[in-house]
């Protein structure tokens, strides 16, 4: 168990800088998820923590020890790879015992540790099988078993669920989280799937183009995204964005969007009159109201999922999505009136994308 400190870490490949000075502080026993679109640098960062990539600048410390110059095998971390990386010519048992064998642990220790991991992951009966004889989910568990046996200071996960089908992914998500709750090992988990991030993380690090956009708990990121990118990345379906000009008159405030539409906003916002802003309202924060109380929107598509109704339409010249628990029977082309919950809305500066509230 240990904390992981990432200070001012930069990574350059040749002439191209791909990670620009990243600072992340991971506490002992924390489950931190690095999330972001492809190419944002999350995997590179993870590999630098593991020691599989050189750190161009900055420092990474695992458990108060700076590890920049330590080879991977001396960093006392275990990694679960996206493609499991199980040695194809070794049985499940041999795969899990491998790291201990390399460190010349005594056979008794090896047996007990492997058996313990086998029990935790419910792999009994599979110990003599080869990876090719296992299903995707089983392979994933063996990969985790291999990591558990090491009893390292931290677990690193590199998109371990990407290769599983949707149903299995949901099941394994729960298993990984349960494992963490049981073992309480510091874990750093990389994924591009924001749902995984939201459901599994103690804290999320959103990365984009080699920079950290925001660090926070899932709900912090959801309710108070630091900028447009995080706002649009977290949450599905994505937040609705309406561009416009902020207007403040008397005690009222609104955003003037295209076609003169007025989108109601909160007056205690750190925005100036006449400032160009982007208004963000999540689909579930739009209410259907009577004509005159809201903004007219033309319905394009209605998707009833049974539990919810998704309405896609055009509002103030912008494509929006609204999600309701109620079952509305709108027809395509119908004009409905929507009103965002002002308290939940977020205002972003048009130029910098930063949160204004």
């Amino acid at each position: 168990m240990a904390s992981v400190e990432i200070n001012g870490v930069t990574k350059t490949f040749g002439n191209v800088e791909v990670i620009h000075g990243v600072d992340i502080s991971i506490a002992n026993e924390e489950f931190v998820v690095l999330v972001g679109p492809s190419g944002c640098g999350k995997t590179t960062l993870l590999r630098m923590i593991a020691g599989l990539e050189q750190i161009t600048d900055g420092e990474i410390a695992i458990g108060d020890k700076v590890v920049n110059d330590l080879p991977p095998k001396d960093r006392d971390i275990a990694m679960v790879f996206q493609n499991y990386a199980l040695y194809p010519h070794m049985t499940v048992w041999e795969n899990m015992a491998f790291s201990l064998k390399m460190r010349r642990a005594n056979p008794g220790t090896i047996t007990s540790r492997v058996n313990q991991a086998t029990g935790i992951l419910e792999l009994m009966g599979y110990l003599d099988r080869f990876p090719r004889q296992l299903s995707g989910g089983q392979r994933q568990r063996v990969a985790m078993g291999r990591a558990i046996v090491r009893d390292p200071q931290a677990f690193l996960f590199d998109e371990p669920l990407s290769n599983l089908d949707a149903k299995l992914r949901v099941q394994m998500r729960v298993e990984v989280k349960a494992l963490h709750q049981r073992l309480r090992t510091t874990s750093i988990y990389v994924t591009h799937d924001q749902v995984e991030a939201m459901t599994m993380a103690d804290r999320i690090v959103v990365m984009h183009d080699g920079r950290v956009e925001q660090i926070g708990t899932p709900l912090e990121l959801y309710d108070k995204p630091a900028n447009l990118f995080v706002a649009g990345f977290i949450g599905s379906p994505a937040m609705n964005f309406i561009k416009g000009t902020f207007r403040r008159e008397g005690g009222q405030a609104w955003v003037e969007a295209a076609d003169g539409v007025r989108v109601p906003a909160s007056a205690d916002v750190a925005a100036r009159n006449g400032e160009e802003v982007v208004y963000g309202a999540r689909p579930e924060h739009l209410d259907v109201v009577a004509e005159g109380e809201g903004i007219p929107a033309e319905v394009a598509v209605v998707e009833p999922t049974g539990a919810e109704t998704y309405i896609y339409g055009k509002l103030a010249g912008v494509q929006v999505c609204a999600v309701f628990a109620e079952r509305y029977d709108f027809k395509p082309g119908e004009i409905i009136h929507l009103r965002p919950k002002v308290a939940k809305a977020n205002l972003f500066d048009s130029g910098s994308g930063k949160l204004l509230n």
Partner: protein
């Protein structure tokens, strides 16, 4: 992590070994080349000099006087070219048919073809020789070239390639459009087999060019010698004339080197395929 001094020394040693090895690989050819330009006076000397002091082309020109090397070279070229063509055509024909068609005896015939590849040619050169006697093919081009007209490996490779690179839907679409199977073979499958065909062509060429044992047996009329047999026969007749021998050797080796340096990628990539199947 920084490389320790020990690691650095190890890497240096490895490079030294690699370099020495590389020299060892190349030296015989360089020596051959150098000797071919030396006048007789410089060849049998001690200590031997690497470079000729008075380089001369006499060996090359004189070579053709003492033995019909020109003819030998043309024979090599002709036989290799015909063999290459034949191997290419037969490989794609058979490979495509085995890959994309079902017919009784398909598995058996294919297994037979692979099985014959396992038996080395030296084992059956005697009976093959005897077979050629009654049909008068001893001492002829036909007899010479016969074993090199087909290559099991070629059929195997083409079958592999056609299976994976030519989608069956393409053939079906052509059939529905009314194309004959021959048309499909020539206009659909063959063009798509380019990479594999060129690899096989190269191998066939190299194999035919280096043919030695079989021509040695089948042909004792000088007119039909290829470079390999010609060189060997010449070596026994003029065993002291190393200058000309080296010149002849250079001429025999040069085309292969050229082929290799131009097509190195192709050769290595197709070797990768063989290794993987094993």
């Amino acid at each position: 992590m920084r490389t320790s001094l020990g690691m650095r020394i190890l890497v240096l040693c490895v490079h030294a070994v690699l370099l020495v090895g590389a020299l060892f690989m190349v030296l015989p050819m360089l020596w051959m080349l150098a000797t071919s330009f030396k006048p007789p006076t410089e060849i049998a000397v001690w200590p031997p000099q690497l470079l000729p002091q008075a380089p001369t082309l006499d060996n090359y020109t004189g070579m053709f006087v003492v033995a019909p090397f020109g003819r030998f070279f043309l024979n090599s070229l002709g036989v290799s070219s015909v063999a290459t063509l034949s191997v290419a055509v037969t490989s794609v024909l058979a490979g495509a048919v085995f890959a994309k068609y079902r017919f009784p005896g398909r598995t058996f015939l294919f297994m037979l073809i692979i099985a014959t590849a396992i038996v080395p040619s030296e084992s059956y050169m005697v009976p093959l020789y005897i077979q050629l006697i009654p049909i008068g093919w001893i001492n002829t081009y036909q007899g010479f070239i016969l074993p090199y007209l087909i290559m099991s490996f070629g059929i195997f490779l083409l079958r592999q390639h056609v299976s994976s690179a030519v989608p069956t839907e393409l053939l079906e679409a052509a059939r529905v459009d009314g194309a004959s199977e021959w048309w499909i073979l020539g206009r659909v499958i063959t063009p798509l087999s380019g990479p594999a065909l060129s690899a096989i062509g190269i191998f066939a060429f190299i194999q035919a060019w280096g043919a030695f044992i079989w021509p040695l047996l089948v042909v004792n009329n000088q007119l039909y010698f290829n470079m390999e047999v010609g060189l060997t026969a010449f070596q026994f007749k003029f065993s002291a004339d190393y200058g000309k021998l080296m010149a002849g050797s250079v001429i025999s080796v040069l085309p292969m080197l050229v082929v290799f340096l131009l097509l190195r990628r192709r050769i290595v990539d197709s070797m990768a395929l063989t290794g993987l199947k094993g």
